[in-house]
Amino acid sequence: TQLLEQSPQFLSIQEGENLTVYCNSSSVFSSLQWYRQEPGEGPVLLVTVVTGGEVKKLKRLTFQFGDARKDSSLHITAAQPGDTGLYLCAGVRGWQGGKLIFGQGTELSVKP
């Protein structure tokens, strides 16, 4: 069974601090996605990483896919209160229908 371990589960920081969220597995994924979910809403896709070693940037967010395509990280620089939310990594498993396996999520709270 493919599993995705996400850490930390909870993170409470002050505005302006940097943080990193990790997503690890013993399995190889064809690609990996990061979603953000705000209270009362469904998750929204932030990025998809496909190639081992790939780095993608989205403003102050930097996403990296491990060389072996088993792990990924999300780094936020100078966090802002608007970054508050639940961050979920999801590995794409197989080809049929684009099924995803999700990590447990990281609940981020950025205080002003």
């Binding site: 809403e41 998750p43 794409v92 229908g97 684009g98 099924k99 995803l100 447990q104």
Partner: protein, 115 residues
Amino acid sequence: DVKVTQSSRYLVKRTGEKVFLECVQDMDHENMFWYRQDPGLGLRLIYFSYDVKMKEKGDIPEGYSVSREKKERFSLILESASTNQTSMYLCASSGQGLAGANEQFFGPGTRLTVL
């Protein structure tokens, strides 16, 4: 603007009741999914469908069934609701794409409480 809608945001049912959760997407997507979300467990796949009338079990199908009679509509059915099915239920859809790396579009969720 792409949209996935769910029939209810909040639902309270009694143990043993039959419960229907409806999901509609307007993106002409082939794939539709039902997840449940519980704290500390992330999203767990209940069922998914990759075509009309086609369905496959996900990781936790016990106690649930689904129906997809039309491309845009995917229903989740709890035949006899139990308290351990109290959860947030999320519906999602995605189109066909390369290597399965498809963005899933989610509805806002239905928070179901079974008393």
